[in-house]
Subunit: 338 residues, 2 copies
């Protein structure tokens, strides 16, 4: 019998999640049946979308039940296989959530090649976050040579992919990040044309100065005050792929007025903007093979860099997740479980 | 010497325009030079976008100067020509604004064939409003067979084009209009599948009942309370072409809170919506010939109907325009000038 240590949703958060919203349990897993494999989690991905799953509110995916295991992508080692496609020792991408072990159908996982790239990258630059940036930027943002692309959370796994791919496509790229260290990384390591600290008191002056020709593509992954500063700078026919709104995720009610919706909507009209929400899964079938080929090539030739923020131990996941929603991580947040 | 009676912008409105914002003048026109023609206005088009031109606020087109002639499309008769392309008696589409006569370059007008359709339709179903509906629906809305399309101001020139074209393309079409007469017209004359009165006390229940499979395309030309009722019913991958927001045009400041923007923006994300502002001029080069061919064919075979609301005399234009912003017109609002 294999035991799994798992973190479940103890209660739904009101506002920002707290450690009390999580609970650790240990359960015995069932024996694997034909076609199934037993997995030992090596890495757990922590991502902003998980905040949405903690709420009962209707969204694009069903919520985690209270008492249910927190969801999430994992990189895991096969420790027992009852399927011909996988053998003990194989490393796979799975979706086991916040737990140390799992029993799943072999057909639901994707085998990784550890010689190809560090396996943890399957959760970041070569996984869902990198693909979110790739698909949203290229399919919706469609940056043209010489256009200006702005992305927030620029040191994070989505933002850093967006900015570096936009650079490769010939755009001028401005990143927004929280604090001087992240800005220096975005500018000096990732090669963005400019990086602006949204916590700086003069952020509202720095942003227009950094985009003298306006903004053609704003890749939206934060919302809130950053979005409010960006929208007035969007050019006619500007495109806004919207993949996340982390600034809103802990809100408990509509903010106080004035109601900014009419002005926002009016700007969409007068500037002929395209604002397009998306979940990366929409584009997987059509674009994921191209993404893996392009992105691994860019990593190999040094034109795309990435950074991981690795936390040790499953028990650290709640605190790391809570901190991520405040912007405390620096790079792709991953928990080393095994 | 030809005299022109003209209505100029006397002052910029604060909130809803009043008759005091307009002033009538009579001026002597210059003699036409080589390449120019003298026009006598037959019909003046009144359209919601003109409210935007009365304001100094930055938009997609420059404002009318205080003291300047109110802008607008016109159908006019050539009463003198100094260009080989036109002769006295020709009828043309021009952009002379709210005035009885004008002198313009012949190259800036388009000759109309009075045998082809009543010339006033060049301001409505066969002109800018009809084209706005055609281009926005087909290029941005992209309705598929069996999908549900909702359009507001459904008895107006844009909305009636949108709904009838969507029906031709095989969509289920629900119109929203103000009052039982307009709703009956939309349903019985224009052949929409349903029509709902946004002034009805149970509008909020009638709308969901009329779209049992949700809404795939919402053609936005009003904003305000109608938009607020529609958005929660939009399906995943819903498309919203935004061509006008008449509900907001007389606003003097952002409305009181709560701030509905975060919830609106969140819905774009969770439903993977496409919200796309546009001005019809974007699509003229690419689509206008197709539009004229398609729309005149549909009118000829009876699959598209239209209605004009004709007001007699240029001096009635301010009052008619003010009423249109309140929804008092029924069909395309046109002033018979000559």
């Amino acid at each position: 019998m294999v035991e799994s240590k798992r973190i479940v949703l103890a209660s739904r958060p009101v506002g920002a999640p707290t450690p009390a919203n999580f609970r650790t349990e240990t359960v015995e897993l069932a024996q694997p049946r034909a076609g199934e494999v037993v997995l030992r989690t090596l890495y757990l991905s922590l991502d902003p979308y998980m905040r949405g799953r903690m709420s009962a509110a209707k969204s694009y995916a069903p919520p985690v039940e209270v008492g249910g295991v927190m969801v999430g992508a994992t990189v895991a080692e096969v420790i027992e296989s009852r399927d011909s496609s996988l053998v003990k020792g194989d490393v796979v991408l799975a979706y086991s959530g916040w737990q140390s072990h799992d029993v799943v159908l072999a057909s639901t996982v994707r085998k990784l090649d550890p010689d190809w790239a560090p396996v943890s990258t399957a959760l970041g630059v070569l996984g869902m976050p990198g693909f979110t940036g790739y698909a949203g930027l290229l399919r919706i943002g469609q940056p043209k040579q010489g256009e200006t692309v702005v992305v927030a959370a620029a040191s994070g796994p989505v933002g850093s992919a967006v900015g570096q791919i936009a650079r490769i496509k010939g755009a001028r790229v401005v990143g927004i990040a929280g604090g001087p260290d992240k800005c220096a990384y975005v500018r000096d390591e990732l090669g963005f044309d400019a990086a602006i600290d949204h916590r700086a008191p003069d952020f509202g002056e720095q942003l227009p100065a950094a985009v003298p020709e306006g903004i053609d593509v704003y890749f939206e992954n934060v919302g809130g005050a950053v979005a409010a500063a960006v929208y007035p700078l969007l050019n006619t026919y500007g495109r806004v792929p919207v993949c996340g709104l982390i600034a809103n995720y802990n809100a408990t009610a509509a903010p106080e007025g004035p109601d900014r919706l009419p002005a926002f909507y009016g700007r969409i009209l007068t500037k002929s903007l395209t604002v397009r929400g998306f979940i990366q899964s929409e584009f997987v079938k059509e674009m994921f093979p191209d993404f893996l080929r392009d992105m691994s090539g860019w990593i190999a030739d040094g034109s795309v860099r990435y950074r991981e923020d690795i936390v040790e131990g499953l028990e650290q996941a709640p605190e790391a997740f809570i901190g991520m929603l405040e912007g405390h991580n620096f790079g792709k947040l991953v928990v080393r479980v095994g």
